[in-house]
Symmetry: C2
Subunit: 423 residues, 2 copies
């Protein structure tokens, strides 16, 4: 029997303990967890084998099964990630915006943990450790609700987290796990506004929509990326092919993978056939708007992998090797297209004209705006945050990759000399 209220109250009380910890204590438990992951690999891998066997019996697609799988290499990677989190600066306690007001009041802001996080996630088991380590390092308690496909793996990982906490004399309520796959628990968690301060869903659009419609806790919406690259007339076309190839094919199932290429009309006739030739060997299928299709049709490289785009294809998150291609008249039309179809995750321009790049950067208001780089860099690890708990595409609190600082808030501290407010 799972008592969510009790979990929430335990998390709330523990959050106060965690908020008072110094960096040393927090790093110790994270490193202890990495040690345990090393010495107790067999336990974790056995649990993971059980999840894999169940997934295979359920007929899950091989690509999805691969996402669930742990092995010694992947565990070694996770251990490295944990030790990297332990080396990150601790944002808690940082003082900023210090000032003395004309009336003599001395004020500053001090960074403090958010408090209690709720994280609802699907499939990949490394999320359990990413989230737990970032939460602990930033002094937050967390309630985890993983997907059914990794239930056994998550149980094993959480028992190691609890062991690490106990070894370091910290309350195990710091990281709690909803050990069940009943959907009712998700809804109940979304209503726990008295004990949970922030809700992070990590999964598909359906999960996000469910959270938006049902949560009474502030939700971090994110992780849905309809990503664009605009190839300007001045782009280095050879380099553009490589960047697009990387953005589309390096890991097509993730949110920062490229969905749509927009090509300046002046170069479309040369570039689009080259683009198709460069990517089709890797299995990329192309959905072309009429302008792009005209350019492709004239090319000997056009093939069955090249079809007309439907009306809804622009604005679709492919999560596969499909790529939308459109021709635009100019920068302005590219920006209009992005405003109409982007989810505000990652959008970029490929150009050798700095003025055009600047105009693009100012006009496009996505969480990550790129000039001459692959959209695949929108990732906490890649952008210097060490790790991430989510990639926010909403506008409140934090945008883009979220890590330690995004798991904190601040309090105002006001020192007076018996100041009273005049009428």
């Amino acid at each position: 029997m799972i008592d969510l209220d009790k979990m929430g109250q335990g998390a709330r009380q523990t959050a106060r303990v965690l908020a008072g910890l110094g960096r040393t204590d927090k790093d110790r438990v994270i490193n202890r967890l990495a040690d345990l992951l090393d010495t107790q690999q067999a336990r974790v891998l056995a649990a993971n084998d059980r999840d894999i066997a169940l997934a295979e019996a359920d007929g899950l697609a091989p690509a999805l099964i691969d996402r669930l799988r742990l092995n010694t290499d992947r565990l070694a990677g996770i251990m490295t990630d944990l030790r990297r989190v332990s080396q990150l600066e601790d944002p808690v306690g940082t003082i900023f915006d210090r000032q003395v007001l004309p009336n003599g009041l001395r004020i500053h802001k001090q960074r403090v943990p958010i408090g209690v996080l709720g994280v609802i996630y699907e499939s990949r088991p490394n999320v359990t450790l990413d989230v737990a380590s970032l939460a602990l390092k930033s002094g937050n308690a967390v309630i985890l609700r993983g997907g059914k496909e990794t239930l056994h793996t998550n149980r094993a990982l959480v028992s190691l987290i609890h062991e690490a906490l106990a070894d370091c004399k910290l309350p195990v309520e710091a990281v709690q796990f909803i050990n069940s796959v009943e959907r009712a628990h998700v809804l109940a968690l979304l209503h726990m506004h008295d004990t949970v301060d922030m809700l992070i869903p990590r999964g598909g659009a359906g999960l996000h929509q469910f959270c938006r419609e049902n949560s009474r806790i502030p939700v971090i919406m994110g992780g849905i990326g309809v990503c664009h690259l605009f190839v300007d007339e001045s782009a280095d076309l050879g380099a553009a092919l490589d960047v697009i190839h990387n953005a589309k094919t390096q890991r097509p199932t993730v949110c920062n993978a490229l969905d749509t290429v927009l090509v300046h009309q002046k170069i479309a006739r040369d570039f689009i056939p080259a683009l198709i030739a460069h990517l089709e060997g890797d299995g990329v299928c192309f959905r072309l708007d009429p302008g792009a299709f005209r350019c492709a049709a004239g090319s000997p490289d056009s093939s069955e992998a090249v079809t007309f785009a439907d009306a809804e294809d622009f604005g679709r998150e492919w999560l596969s090797l499909t790529l939308g291609v459109g021709v635009v008249a100019d920068l302005t039309q590219a920006i209009e297209h992005i405003h109409a179809h982007s989810t505000g995750h990652s959008d970029g321009i490929l150009t050798q004209d700095n003025a055009q790049a600047e105009l693009f950067v100012q006009a496009v208001d996505s969480a990550a705006v790129y000039v001459n780089a692959s959209t695949r860099f929108t990732d906490g690890g890649q952008l210097g945050l060490g790790a991430e708990v989510a990639i926010s595409t909403q506008r409140l609190h934090a945008r883009g990759p979220m890590a330690l600082e995004a798991l904190t808030t601040y309090k105002w501290v006001i020192w007076g000399e018996n100041h009273t407010r005049p009428d």
Copy 2:
């Protein structure tokens, strides 16, 4: 017929225009608005007279009617506030966290407007102008929904805002007003997550709860303050009386007014009778816990204004001249009481012992934590922000008084040289 979808789409389109404005354009419209408020006072005051007459006919309490009332003095104050907003720094466009990654990617964050704000508020008509001016200055579009008590006043104010926008060749959709008091519009607004980015309710606990339960847009919860002052054994007792008097009586109906005084047991026998004597002349009623009552009963000043506190009295936002008083064994017990009963708005300690003050500041995690000052300072204007759109008691995005910076978010800007992500 009010078409909320059309309002939302107009706001969304206009937000893009506002996001691109420089400071000069934004200040011009705010100053133009102040000018119009000066030259067209008669129109505003006539509309306000109509609201006041209706409120009197409805039998509204005099204190509430006073909150609705505008007069030349109050209008002059509002004009001063507008001109002050025009003088504030514009946070939009600020670049921060600039760095070059080891792989050569150059990244920074750039401050941008939130986009479209929805603000639902009750009574005081100055909110219309505070919110509109802060929204415009920070480059946001806003949809306003005021209370029925100020419907005519708000119509007059919004028509001046539109005149100012038109005079400055800016789209009037920047500030839109739901010209109706139908509750159904509030619910509809809460569902407009495609066009509204942030929802700010300003009103009582009922409005906040309604928004929490029904909004699909991120909501800023706030404005409910159960505020505490702890009088430590080392406090300067004379000064403590003045600070408490100010925090309780200077404006008892607002969220940062004092609700509970906690007194260290070592000074309770002297301090509590003095507290009663100092405040009862101003009409303050006291609700005492048993420990405090024992101290008061022995005092010649004890009176009918002094009664036992009910179980729920601690944790109640009085919004009146009632004051809870409790005796605590020590700092730790004071902190425990605050954790149990505070809404996390404004809580403070009165002490001459810096070590105790530091312990209090670290342990109490309210939006504003005070040492030797009245809780009445939790206010954007008082804490150097120039004005405020809300006082947040939630933990995401912004805490405490929210003004220009809290109406912005940021985007990540990443410049590469055709960077691709390695496997």
